[in-house]
Amino acid sequence: MKFIHAGDVHLGNPFSGLDKQLPNKLKKVVQSATIHSFEQLVDDALTNEVDFILFPGDLYNSADNSPFIQEVVSQQFERLSKANIDVFLSFGNHDFEANTRHHLPWPNTVHVFDQKVEIKYLTLASGEKIALTGFSYQTQRQTTKIIDEFPVKGDVDYQMGLYHGSLGVDGDPYAPFSVSNMLEKNYDYWALGHIHVRQTLNEQPFIGYSGVLQGLNRKETNEKGYYLVHDENKCLVPVFKSVATIIWDSVNISTMIDEEDLIDQINNLQNEKTIFWSITITASLNSTMIERINSGVTLDKIRAQLPTNMWVVRLSISDAKHLALISDNIDQQYWIQGLEQVFEESSVMDYLSNQVPVFIREYFMNDDGKAELRNSMEQLIAERRQNHED
């Protein structure tokens, strides 16, 4: 028996963190990356003659998608259907509405899980009887422990669970579960979805996330893909297969002589794959260099000299202890204290009126946004301090 476990395909999901400078050629690669990875997965399924494919949620990025995406999904499902490869599909927090929305007719080899936990059965050519248990999200949040509604393994050769959720306790937003909850069910495999980082929660039986099929932002680094699962002495063993069209990666540059040296170092990162880099400079820099980097001049220069299959998404100076640079007759402690007070007061919202899009307000309310603000504030103060002194 062979099957594919691919959580979080996120078809049509745009990449976040890119800007207008991205060359058109790469932009096209970016736009089709999720589609391309999905097609690669289907190609692999056909080549490897898998018996079936599990998509435990977030096949789509959102309930809103487009004719092109629909056409792609429909075509690929059709290809699988022709090869007699069954598809088991549950919807997650991103595509929870997809089940209720119209989509092109899918072949009857595509099995969509209902919003209530249900078991689907499949008998393989080998005669092995398979049961698959899963559910689709009803809303964007699924705060109950749906795992409790999963039955224990029935009278079948293998039973698999498709579960879109994350570890947690009752009340947590994404179908909270614990590993022991799953182990109690005595299943042979738990195909998890939702967490974009590939991870194994339990070795045998396998409980784990295959991760996102294609990295979608600079935090989703390294190879991304799916699990090709086969059985070894009745144990189901997943093997990771990379299909991501574009790989996000990050690197720290700890020593650099000058800008030219920096550009050389970055160009040396070139690889046969298309890689989007986030570069953090930890080397100590002179103020001119800092200003060039902070103003984006350096990044522009780097981007202008990049190979075509490479992109530098972000160039930043490490947290750099900007505050350490501040020294004047106002006591250091007042600065530190003031910064803490600024963030303690949740003062961000004082400046963001209703007309500011929600995602911005949310971003700056969360830790990432706050950290970013803190960093850039420190940089700003450091700069001003310098001016102040001069």
């Binding site: 004719p67 119209h102 106002i330 007042y334 003062s347 400046y351 700003l380 102040h388």
Partner: protein, 787 residues
């Protein structure tokens, strides 16, 4: 810091004038225009620089030509110093440490540092005020106090305040929370438009899906339609074939094949042959029979005897006839004699009357004449009474006369009739005439008898005569009869001979006939066997049967020939149609249906092609991914821009916080102190001061809230004084400068004025206060300088 002494070289109305000031509360009293304000301006000028002419303010040029400027002796943490500032336009500053009379290098910097963080403005704001300033209380904002305090509290924060203002300005250029022209406001709008466009785009998905469904439906419909067309085409072809074959079929249909027994033609031929034989035999028999019938045996002798008898009778009748003839002739003789006597015809015999007439003659005439005479006599003789009888007799006589006349006439007629005979002969001839008449009738009778008898005889002999071919001579019937008798006898003789011959002939024929009849019967028998076999009664029927059979056979052949050209299925179908027209009509109907279907199919095809093109366009022109990615990029950029904006705004806030921290929360302390002073100044009528966004409010002890503008002038001024005093108090750990109060309390009532003096006195224990006043009564103060 404390001012010990003023040494004025030249400043306004003061020249070469020194003033020693005491520690604590120094009161300087003077009337209007006594130079109180000039002294205050001198102090500020030496400390912070002399006023320039810009702005048209009083620059206090000395009136007597003394050198502009002067010195202050200041007590500082570095000991006493003399600060000398001379000349207004080309100012020189010298600072000398009095302890060793050494000049301080870079006196500007030294002084600035010493006064730091005070500027001229902040010095004026905190330490220097007059009556005019007191009325500004209503314009005071917490921000001003805060800034002031920060500036004072965090030494070197002036730069940061600028930074703050700069950053804030930059931030406000990026975004206005309720604006729409700033770059970020516009970027938001742009982003929202794009987001909306994507949303609309995703609505296009449902169009796509529904069109796809429509397309599938249409394609199914098209398939159905094509099947229909195919079916109807086939039907049409079949129909064409049917029409082609219909006439054949129709002709076949017209062939009526009967269920007729197979007729063996040889047997029919046999029957025919037999028939010929039968006919021949029958003919022969018939002929024989006819011959037999034609053989008429001569009459038997009896017949001739009859004729002999008849002839004998005729002879008898002939004799009677002859007698009658003779008798007639005699009578004719007699009548002829008589006729010859008369010129005319033999007249009629006379009647008795005529005979009388002929005899008596004038009897009536005589009677009548006698009668008349008798009458006349009687008339005249007799009575008149007898007249009537006379008349009657007269009339009778007339009649009698008439009668006699008549008799004469008839006598004449008879004579004429019997001319030329006379009366006597007439009378004598009368019997003869009577006889004549008799004879005439007898002749007549005899004539008829004779004719009758002649006819009888003729009739009697006529047939025999005819038979024997003998002419009947009416004049000599007797001769004829004799001839007949002779002929009859001859005939009888020949008849007998003939008869014998015929009988012999007859017998021969009968025998032959008998043989033929037997033969005939056997043939008929034979034929009948054939007839029976075919259930017919005669040869005609048999032949009919044969011809029917043959015809049927032909029909069958023809039918089969036709049917071989039409297959079974077609035939079964053709059977259902009554006429070719029906088929043609159906064909037309089908053609029509086909045309309609094809038109529909064409339309459908067009429709499908359109939809497909639409769908293809939808997928190939699908900008969704691009739009989404663009939107994501826009998000990134917008986030970055807001990050910039927030960085600016929060940095301002951060600097503010840091400064405030550095100023050790002097503002709340100041507020607290001000409240305390105000409460004291107002005799505890008010016990709270609070800053709202744009105004200042005070609250009475019984919780009544007043806006500052609602307060009386005096109370407003007291509030101001409270703040000024509090301000100077809360920064005294950083810098302590003499408080310059220029005649500030004119609107205070006695009670509150007493209070303020009390308060100033208290404060002067730790801080030098220089108080200028126009009041004359200053007894409670020590060292009052009177100008």
């Amino acid at each position: 810091m404390r001012i010990k002494r003023l040494e004025i070289s030249g400043f306004g109305r003061w020249s070469q004038q020194n003033f020693d000031l005491i520690d604590g509360m120094q009161v300087i009293a003077g009337q209007n225009e006594s130079g109180k304000t000039t002294l205050r301006a001198f102090i500020v000028g030496v400390l912070f620089g002399f006023p320039t002419k810009k702005g048209g303010v009083n620059v206090y040029d000395p009136k007597d030509g003394s050198q502009y400027g002067g010195s202050l002796i200041l007590e500082t943490d570095e000991g006493d110093v003399r600060i000398t500032r001379l000349d207004r336009t080309k100012t020189t500053l010298n600072i000398t440490r009095l302890v060793n009379q050494t000049e301080i290098n870079d006196p500007e910097k030294w002084l600035k540092k010493k006064l730091s963080p005070l500027t001229r403005e902040s010095f004026d704001d905190i330490f220097n005020f007059n009556q005019e300033d007191l009325s500004h209380i209503s314009q005071i904002k917490s921000e001003d106090f805060q800034k002031l305090l920060l500036n004072i509290g965090a030494v070197g924060s002036t730069g940061w305040l600028d930074v703050m203002a700069d950053l804030d300005k930059s931030a406000d250029k990026l975004f206005a929370p309720r604006g729409n022209k700033r770059p970020l406001n516009m970027a938001i709008k742009d982003y929202e438009n794009n987001a909306l466009q994507i949303q609309q785009n995703s609505e296009a998905l449902s169009d796509f899906i529904s069109t796809e469904k429509k397309l599938t439906d249409l394609e199914t419909k098209q398939q159905e339609q094509q099947n229909k067309i195919l079916t109807i085409n086939q039907a049409l072809q079949e129909r064409n074939k049917l029409i082609q074959q219909y006439q054949l079929f129709e002709s076949a249909k017209k062939i009526t094949i009967q269920d007729i027994q197979t007729v063996n033609e040889t047997e029919v031929v046999k029957a025919q042959r037999l028939q010929i034989e039968i006919d021949a035999l029958s003919n022969s028999i018939n002929r024989h029979n006819a011959t037999l019938q034609n053989i008429k045996l001569p009459e038997q002798l009896t017949d001739s005897k009859k004729e002999q008898l008849l002839l004998s009778q005729a002879q008898v009748r002939q004799r009677i006839l002859s007698e009658n003839q003779t008798k007639k002739n005699e009578l004719l003789q007699q009548t002829k004699q008589l006729e010859e006597r008369f010129t005319a015809h033999v007249p009629e015999p006379l009647t008795d009357k005529e005979l009388q007439e002929l005899a008596t003659s004038n009897f009536y005439f005589y009677v009548s004449v006698i009668a008349v005479i008798l009458v006349i006599l009687s008339t005249f003789v007799l009575h008149l009474s007898m007249l009537w009888i006379g008349i009657i007799i007269l009339v009778g006589c007339g009649g009698l006369y008439y009668k006699s006349q008549q008799q004469n006439k008839s006598k004449q007629a008879i004579k004429e009739r019997y001319s030329p005979l006379d009366v006597v002969t007439i009378k004598a001839i009368q019997p003869q005439i009577n006889l004549y008449e008799q004879h005439l009738s007898e002749i007549e009778k005899l004539d008829s008898d004779i004719i009758q008898q002649q006819d009888d005889v003729v009739n009697l002999i006529k047939p025999i005569a005819v038979r024997l071919d003998v002419e009947v001579l009416c004049d000599s019937l007797d001769l004829t009869i004799v001839q007949l008798i002779t002929a009859l006898q001859q005939q009888n003789l020949s008849t007998d001979n003939k008869r014998n011959l015929l009988v012999q002939q007859q017998n021969q024929i009968v025998v032959e006939t008998q043989q033929e009849k037997e033969k005939l019967n056997s043939k008929i028998e034979e034929q009948n066997i054939v007839f029976k076999t075919y259930h017919v009664n005669d040869l005609n029927e048999l032949e009919d049967l044969l011809s029917q059979f043959k015809k049927n056979l032909q029909f069958k052949q023809r039918y089969q020939d036709i049917m071989q050209q039409i297959d079974e299925e077609t035939r079964q179908k053709l059977v259902r149609y009554e006429s070719e027209e029906q088929l043609v009509a159906q064909q037309e109907q089908q053609k029509h249906e086909l045309a309609i279907l094809q038109e529909h199919a064409f339309k459908l095809q067009n429709e499908i092609a359109n939809y497909k093109a639409q769908q293809e366009q939808r997928t190939s022109n699908d900008q969704f991914m691009t739009m989404q990615q663009n939107l994501a990029n826009q998000k990134t950029e917008l986030t970055q821009q807001f990050s910039d904006y927030l960085t600016l705004k929060l940095t301002v806030r951060w600097i503010n916080k840091a400064l405030q921290n550095a100023s050790q929360n002097r503002f709340p302390k100041m507020q607290e102190l001000a409240t305390k002073y105000f409460k004291y100044l107002t005799n505890e009528r008010y016990d709270k001061i609070q800053f709202s966004k744009n105004s200042l409010q005070v609250i009475t002890i019984d919780s009544q809230k007043f806006d500052v503008t609602e307060l009386s002038t005096g109370t407003q001024e007291q509030l101001y004084v409270a703040f000024r005093l509090a301000l100077s108090q809360v920064i005294k750990d950083i810098i302590s400068m003499p408080l310059l109060v220029d005649d500030g309390f004119v609107n205070f009532d006695d009670n509150r004025k007493k209070n303020v003096m009390h308060l100033l006195h208290d404060l002067a224990q730790e801080q030098q206060i220089i108080y200028w006043t126009a009041a004359r009564d200053n007894d409670q103060f020590k060292n009052v300088i009177k100008l």
